[in-house]
């Protein structure tokens, strides 16, 4: 393993591209191998058994590229199967978006009331509350599953009145609970950030777990002496298990740039 080894990142589908984007912005020289399990997306509504099986498959695919680190860009896997990833990848470090987001939220909150939104599986697991309370047991965590945010983001309904109505539906209660910090506990949600911010109202800090994970990645690479020192910006290497028609549109939506070459892998 060298400084030039890639960082492996996986997600259930496209959502983890928000993590790729944040890492590219923070660490442009790092080579990234991204796997999106587009043949089996979404993970959020599925059961723990299935999610754990998929997490092992996804890790095995990335391990073929001998990465120096694995980033679990899927909150659902971070919540329910991080131990599966750790067991499947030997001794290399693993960063889950969930712990990175939880840790940043604990640093940011002043009134010790944190809201968390995510998929049904993530919220049902209570993993954010556990991670936050492991750092500070005085913090109250108010969680809300927002299952329609993923399809709305994937279909590009970024600013549609229906998206606003559904944001209102999901966020009304959490808004009334006096939180000062809201964790976007799903890597798709930054795509809907504007609507979420406007619905939740002023004065609430939004924690984007993609940005949190980029900060944590830099720390960890520096500690372990594995930071890539090259001055050349790297292009991410994309792997997917299915190549749907709308892939190119979605890539542009998430990344704001043209689609590079993509390899299809079987799961």
């Amino acid at each position: 393993m060298t400084t030039d080894s890639p960082i492996g990142i996986f997600d259930s589908g496209f959502g983890g591209l928000t993590v790729v984007k944040a890492i590219q912005a923070a660490l442009p020289a790092e080579r990234i191998i991204y796997f999106g399990d587009t043949a089996r997306v979404p993970y959020g509504p599925k059961s723990q058994i299935t999610i754990r099986k998929y997490a092992a498959d996804d890790t095995a695919i990335l391990m073929r590229y001998q990465p120096k680190m694995i980033i679990v860009a899927c909150n659902t896997v971070s919540a329910l199967a991080l131990d599966v990833v750790e067991k499947s990848c030997g001794n290399i470090p693993v960063i889950g978006v969930l712990k990175a987001g939880a840790s940043l939220a604990v640093q940011v909150t002043k009134n010790k009331r944190i809201g968390v939104i995510g998929t049904q599986a993530t919220v049902g697991s209570n993993a954010y509350a556990c991670a936050i309370n492991a750092l500070d047991s005085d913090i109250e965590v108010i969680s809300q599953a927002c299952p329609l945010f993923v399809p709305l983001a994937e279909e590009g309904f970024i600013n549609h009145p229906a998206t606003r109505l559904l944001a209102e539906h999901y966020l009304t209660e959490i808004r009334q609970r006096g939180i000062d910090t809201l964790v976007l506990g799903c890597t798709h949600y930054p795509i809907l950030r504007q609507v979420i911010e406007e619905t939740i109202g002023n004065g609430i800090a939004i924690i984007d777990s993609a940005e949190a994970v980029a900060l944590r990645t830099r720390e960890l690479l520096m500690e372990s002496g594995l930071l890539n020192q090259s001055s050349k910006a790297a292009v991410p290497h994309l792997l997917v298990s299915d190549l749907p028609q709308k892939f190119s549109m979605l890539y542009q939506l998430f990344m704001g740039s043209e689609l590079p070459d993509v390899d299809l892998v079987e799961v």
Copy 2:
């Protein structure tokens, strides 16, 4: 194969339960084996290669039960992989929801203008237009993909204002094209039938492919002498590839009855 052999039905997830319900209503004595590929749902946004692979897997699972007939309750598979199902099941008859719905629509339309709504894959395949024009080449088919209808139905947003706004978004253009018949080309859509009917307006006949397939099933069983003559109503046997938390809620939503025993199968 006997009159007592089961009818095998599969779908990507829960949507095909609308077909189970229609068959139970029309043919209560028939034993039904239903497989829902809940570990890999949805199929609609995925590519043809992946959908064809999944169709072969799904058929193989049902063939273990030696069915007298297979019903493809998934419009996406009916559109893109019916030949795969036919090849994988030997000589038993196969009914796809798509042809059944297309055939009924051709009988119903008077002005020869038919609208079809479905998933991205179904609409992108143009299979409804092909099936309709094979029966009557004078008919004009106007198609519209409505990708958010599946998650809205699966989340139970049956009558929410956001569902009405999205129906308006998807159906405005098709409504202006002078159709007199609208095919619900996805087995989830009957769940949203009321909103769809109110949005598309009066005087347009709605074709529910679940009902169409039940009519076709009865015909085919009578022709082949395989109609079950028992006077006892059978309880469907359910197989799924994943058992999510909300399964019971969704079953009640689709079937209007309590969940029977469910077996988990690996895909």
